[in-house]
């Protein structure tokens, strides 16, 4: 028996098969024909909020012939999973996203259905939402997403008890006041500002606000459009210098790189009174609430990011997740059903359900329901911030396409821990 011949042939066969599979995988693409009949799949970021999405779907399915199925994907892996299935026959019909850069590459690959025709038939699909929010999912003049869930601006949270004990009566309104508070808290042996730098994106929030306040929203917009020279502008250096000053003043303590938000580390610092402030998205409230409802209701304070004298950005500008969106896959078998489902996103029922679990939808009818929110005062404060903000900058890591995320997050964390200086940061951002 000639074993060697066998082996050689098997390997050759395997190689040929592999090539074949690769080609098949590449050209496989997608076709409506392979999609299941009377089913519409929604790819959803999996978390506690899914209860409401499921409720809306159940209500929809009660009267619809085409049934909607909610496919929950664990949050941390959502974007990776979406990218790998989008151009395959198992792609979702409707998918959750953050607008902006999170859908740009899908739009470029011609995988997303423009909603403009639907909007022409039913203008409410656009007009029922706050314009600044709806804009996030408009790419090259075409609308690709309908806002769902809520808006999540980043705010400066505080432990009011710690501040009172330290003799600080009000949250800082200006950068100077913030620096002063940092010094007071530090002298008392308290970490002035909790920072979950282990996750890296909490660090990025400081850059987003500093750049916006110092240089205005225009700088980042230009960078996003491809003008990388803005990173070495005078304003850019000024913002970086101020961040460096804050870190060097000991505002975040010394061990922030070992702390994470996602495992509860930094929220616990704030709640236990070991830290005075935390810059975080509006979900800080629900995070604290699920740990200790009394703390969230009575001790947790919140304010806008301080204004910076001489800065070009408006003091009411916001950064954060402007909203979440639903978009429709181009190859869906039932575009009309998908459209009808998206119309629910501005219905009274949807808004009420979202408000009840602490989310803040950005529809024009949201205000009516704010009294029924989990914490009406907090909901109203947030809503007025978003409504009055001249500009609401989407988080940098969502505004850029996903492939830029690693570079951005590495650069911000290295800058904070002192591994790179201003020039290093500028160089990293220019490489995008």
């Amino acid at each position: 028996m000639n074993n060697h011949g066998w082996v050689a042939r098997t390997i050759a066969g395997g190689a040929a098969l592999a090539l074949g599979l690769t080609m098949a995988g590449c050209s496989g693409g997608s076709g409506a024909s392979s999609r299941p009949e009377n089913e519409l799949h929604v790819a959803m970021y999996g978390d506690a909020g899914n209860v409401v999405e499921q409720k809306m779907i159940d209500a929809f399915n009660a009267t619809s012939e085409v049934k909607i199925v909610l496919d929950k994907i664990p949050g941390g892996e959502y974007q990776s999973k979406l990218q790998t299935i989008m151009d395959t026959p198992t792609a979702p019909d409707i998918f959750f996203n953050w607008g902006g850069g999170s859908i740009k590459s899908f739009v470029d690959a011609d995988l997303v259905l423009p909603l403009d025709d639907f909007i022409k038939e039913d203008p409410q699909l656009k007009d029922a939402f706050l314009p600044s929010v709806f804009e996030t999912a408009v790419i090259d003049g075409k609308s690709y997403g309908v806002p769902m869930r809520g808006t999540q601006p980043v705010m400066l949270f505080n432990n009011s008890k710690v501040l009172t004990d330290a003799g600080i009566s009000n949250p800082p309104a200006t950068w100077e006041e913030l620096l002063e508070d940092v010094k007071i808290l530090k002298d008392k042996g308290i970490t002035p500002i909790a920072l979950g730098a282990g996750d890296r994106w909490p660090t990025l929030m400081w850059f987003e606000y500093l750049y916006d306040r110092v240089a205005g929203e225009g700088l980042f917009q230009k960078a996003l459009e491809g003008d990388s020279s803005v990173w070495e502008s005078e304003e850019s250096r000024k913002a970086l210098g101020m961040l460096r000053e804050l870190v060097d003043a000991g505002a975040f303590g010394t061990n922030f790189d070992s702390v994470k938000f996602t495992d509860g580390g930094s929220p616990a610092l704030l709640a236990s009174g070991k830290a005075g402030f935390e810059l975080m998205g509006s979900w800080e409230y629900s995070t604290q609430q699920s740990n200790d409802a009394a703390f969230a209701a009575e001790v947790l304070g919140y304010s806008e990011f301080p204004k910076i004298d001489g800065g070009k950005g408006d003091e009411d500008n916001l950064v954060g997740n402007t909203n979440n969106f639903y978009s429709i896959h181009k190859n869906t078998r039932y575009p009309e059903t998908a459209r009808d489902f998206l119309k629910l996103m501005y219905s009274d029922q949807f808004v009420q359900e979202q408000v009840a679990i602490g989310n803040l939808p950005t529809t024009t009818n949201t205000e009516k329901f704010l009294d029924k929110a989990a914490d009406p005062e907090y909901a109203k404060y947030q809503f007025s911030l978003v409504k009055e903000a001249p500009s609401f900058q989407l988080s940098w890591d969502q505004a850029y396409p996903p492939e830029a995320t690693v570079t951005i997050l590495t650069a911000v964390s290295q800058f904070f821990s002192g591994q790179i200086d201003e020039d290093g940061f500028i160089k990293a951002m220019q490489s995008l």
Binding site: T10, A18, Q83, N255, D263
Partner: protein
């Protein structure tokens, strides 16, 4: 012992009872079991190892984000790879992880394994406790240690004389030390198991003879146990090398490759390029580099150690 060896060496059919029966079925050296016996394993290996390997090789010459068709770009990914500072650093880090892993785990697991091979009181109970980490998933272990090492609410917060301000994962040295420690905690039980099995195979006559000659426990360990464990050491080291090269979950969960790129080892770099930057071309190129390196190291270890000659450590017994 001599009987065992004799049985093994006894030529086929010499025992007599096989007389008259077709000899092929027993399998003499001239007619070993046909290739058909290896077919299931070969098909699996081909489908799940060779096919993806070839696909990855093809992808490494393309630019592909997972959307649309891969575009052939020639050697571009490979050229970029050799100029990528993170890639070069990641190779050094991987090497460091392997060396430190072997240096910390091997002595400990040999000692534990030899001890566990004995028949002391309480041995079974203690061994069972030592093996617990082996039963946990890497992800669970990483999450566990991440929580234990929280600088404000974990162990470092209570032991500032050892951890200082508790910024263990915030410095490169600290992060590497944590990963090596957790790797040791996680994998020592497995290698202990290997050495325990091997130590049990050492013929007691050797120790009896040595003690008659007046050799103490320490002398016996170095002159009998260690040489007898040689083949197991080679096996264990190869597993550590390959395991070290593919370490991933602990890095992802404990350090996320940081601080900065301080613990971005090659396997993590590959994941980051492919599934975070969606550059499957570069990711595939890194994967191939890993395949080549681990194959080369395994070959080298086998060659240098003489493992390929399969010499029994019991020759002459």
């Amino acid at each position: 012992m001599t009987t065992t060896l004799a049985n093994r060496r006894r030529p086929e059919g010499a025992g007599g009872p096989e007389k008259g029966r077709p000899t092929r079925r027993v399998g003499s050296s001239s007619s070993r079991p046909g290739f058909i016996w290896a077919l299931p394993a070969t098909i699996f290996f081909g489908l799940f190892a060779l096919v993806p390997l070839v696909a990855v090789a093809v992808l490494s010459f393309t630019s592909w984000s997972g959307l649309g068709d891969p575009k052939f770009v020639g050697l571009k990914n490979w050229e970029a790879l050799f100029e990528d500072p993170v890639m070069l650093q990641s190779l050094w880090l991987s090497l460091l992880f392997i060396v430190l892993g072997i240096v910390t785990q091997t002595p400990l697991s040999i000692l534990l394994g030899v001890w566990a091979a004995g028949n002391q009181k309480n041995r079974a109970i203690l061994s069972a406790i030592y093996f617990v980490p082996l039963l946990l998933s890497s992800a669970a272990i990483s999450v566990l240690w991440r929580a234990l090492l929280d600088p404000n609410f974990g162990i470092p917060g209570q032991m500032s004389w050892l951890f200082g301000d508790g910024n263990v994962l915030g410095t490169q040295t600290g992060a590497i030390a944590v990963l090596i420690f957790v790797g040791m905690w996680q994998f020592t039980p497995f290698h202990t198991l290997i050495y325990q099995g091997a130590a049990r195979q050492i013929p007691p006559v050797l120790y009896q003879a040595a003690s008659i000659d007046g050799a103490g426990t320490v002398r016996q360990f170095f002159s009998i146990t260690l040489p007898q464990l040689k083949n197991s050491i080679v096996t264990s080291v190869i597993l550590m090398v390959v395991g070290g090269l593919t370490t991933f979950e602990t890095v992802l969960i404990l350090t996320n490759g940081g601080p900065g790129t301080g613990t971005t080892i090659t396997a993590f770099h590959m994941y980051q390029e492919a599934f975070r930057r969606f550059d499957f071309g570069t990711g595939s190129a890194i994967a191939l580099v890993l395949v080549v390196i681990s194959t080369a190291i395994s070959f080298a270890v086998v060659r240098v150690s003489g493992y390929d000659k399969m010499r029994s450590s019991m020759e002459g017994l």
